[in-house]
Amino acid sequence: MKARDLFFWAGVGFLGFLVLLAVFGPTFRHHYLDKVGLPFEPPGARFWLGTDELGRDVFARIAYGARVSLTVGLIVQGLALLIGTAVGVIGVYAPRWISNPVMRLTDGMFAFPDILLAILIIGVWRRGMVPVIVALAITAWPGIARLVRTQVASLRHREFVQAARAMGGSTVYVVTRHVLPQMMGVLLAVSMVELAGTILAESSLSFLGIGIEAPDPSWGSLIDSARANMNAYPLLLLWPCLILSLSIFALNFVGDGLRERLDPRSR
């Protein structure tokens, strides 16, 4: 087995663990909000990863953070895929007076720094999970739209699409039955990498104190509070940093691996 395959399967394994952690972890031992021990207890049999500055179970908080990250990430990527695909198809098939301004807007939003726009949206709206999801979805779709547009534009003139056209298929039929299924692999691979970006963005916002609201934990806010308590108990910093970095690595490896496996052109 080559090193690349090893990384891919390690990534798949880690993501599986992450999903299990997100689904079952928060209900497993202690509640993530309860003060169940003394502050800064070291890792042990009772608290696998120790306790935080208020005596809450770090494992439970990390696990709940995984749930937050995956929920936000999956919803945002779902929305981005829906909007991005629709806009990308419009960019190719709609008449120019519609597609031109739409794609200009997409390019403009793509160039604008994501976090800045998200901060603006959250700043004037409110904090919490819903604004974070909306803000990140608004910044995530232009990337997908640009990808879909180039893919659809290149598929449009392939024989099987032309044939479906010639047999009298309507635009909607041709796009949904012949063009889009061709792109599933690429979109899935890209979504994995984009998911890493979304999880990072959510953690960044929570680190800045404008994302998921305390006392609910997110990996970003866990890192921030561990940073604040670094002088007293630096070990607290290790766990959220570790799980976040590993998740980003895993998603990138899996995304790259999927692209190689699903996109025949990159073989």
Binding site: I115, I119, L120, S245
Partner: protein, 316 residues
């Protein structure tokens, strides 16, 4: 003539982006639930008190009028006064915060360009050998490890364990400023440096394969001169454009770094403004940050024809 027209178009596009940002900044506030008047007067204020305050702040006029006024005043760098504290003019706040963010960003982009071009060139010259693998591993780490993970880890090692640099910025400083800024700048430059490394490497490998390089080797040009005068000058052009786009990462990265190191800059001011609901300060911060991003990318685009005769001639 065509070059002039292309430049004018680029300038117009920059201006349009600026209008777009100002509009988004303004409208975002209009659409937001909650009201400045309620925040200022308090929940318990009577309707009359609220009306008077609304009148005083000029919030009772229709929005196009207020947008026009917002733009005209923003162009004169007048963003109103802060809702809270001593209600000082927002422009004063910006004047105080901007130098820190600008200093961070400029130092970080300089370091990133130096590191990126250096590492990328080394990687390309020793393609597929250990310097190349080292550079690629470093750049993968730089892209994937988020800066808010990097920041506390580096602070732990270099401040807490080794005691080389202070942990955070402080209003009273006993050491020269640079010792407080070195960690933030390194962290801020990590991601752009990693991206520039990859780009320089790819561009340099491409350039080294070209005939004029082979000719230069055949003609006996000394290696150092070959790399710097012949290859790098050609390979650097796509990298210059990327420096502009990296600036976007820098601006958002400075939010993180300013929080992690308590640096008094635009990023920290923005977050504080959000947490207080201080709309004028928030609007001004976002507008200024966005304008800086547009301006830097504009400068980079205008610089390209000066650096690259091919771009210059293609458009003439």
């Amino acid at each position: 003539m065509r070059l002039a027209r292309a430049l004018a178009l680029r300038l117009l596009f920059g201006l349009l982006s600026l209008v777009f940002i100002s509009f988004v900044t303004f409208v975002a506030d209009e659409l937001a639930p909650g009201d400045a008047v309620t925040v200022l007067a308090g929940e318990k204020a009577s309707q009359e008190e609220k009306d008077r305050l609304r009148e005083e702040l000029g919030l009772n006029r229709p929005w196009p009028v207020r947008y026009g006024e917002f733009v005209v005043r923003a162009a004169q760098l007048d963003f109103g006064t802060s809702y809270y504290g001593i209600k000082e003019p927002v422009s004063e706040i910006l004047k105080r915060d901007l130098p820190m963010t600008a200093r961070l960003a400029l130092m970080a982009i300089a370091l990133a360009a130096l590191l990126g071009v250096g590492l990328g060139t080394v990687a390309a010259l020793w393609e597929n050998r250990w310097p190349d693998r080292l550079a690629l591993t470093l750049s993968t780490l730089g892209v994937t490890v988020p800066n808010f993970v990097l920041a506390p880890l580096l602070v732990y090692v270099f401040s807490l364990q080794l005691g080389l640099v202070p942990q955070v910025w402080s209003p009273v400083r006993t050491l020269p400023d640079i010792s407080y800024l070195i960690l933030p700048v390194v962290i801020l430059s990590a991601r752009p440096a990693a991206l520039l490394t990859r780009l320089t490497r790819a561009s340099m490998i491409e350039t080294l394969k070209q005939e004029f390089v082979r000719l230069a080797i055949a003609k006996g040009v000394p290696p150092v001169r070959l790399v710097f005068r012949h290859a790098l000058r050609n390979a650097i052009l796509p990298v210059v454009t990327a420096v502009g786009t990296s600036f976007g990462f820098l601006l958002t990265g400075s939010f993180i770094v300013e929080r992690a190191f308590l640096l008094p800059g635009i990023g920290r001011e923005t977050i504080e403004a959000i947490q207080q609901g201080n709309t004028p300060v928030l609007q001004a911060c976002i507008l200024v940050t966005g304008a800086m991003f547009i301006l830097v990318n504009l400068i980079v685009d205008l610089l390209l024809p000066i650096l690259d005769p091919r771009v210059r001639e293609a458009q003439v």
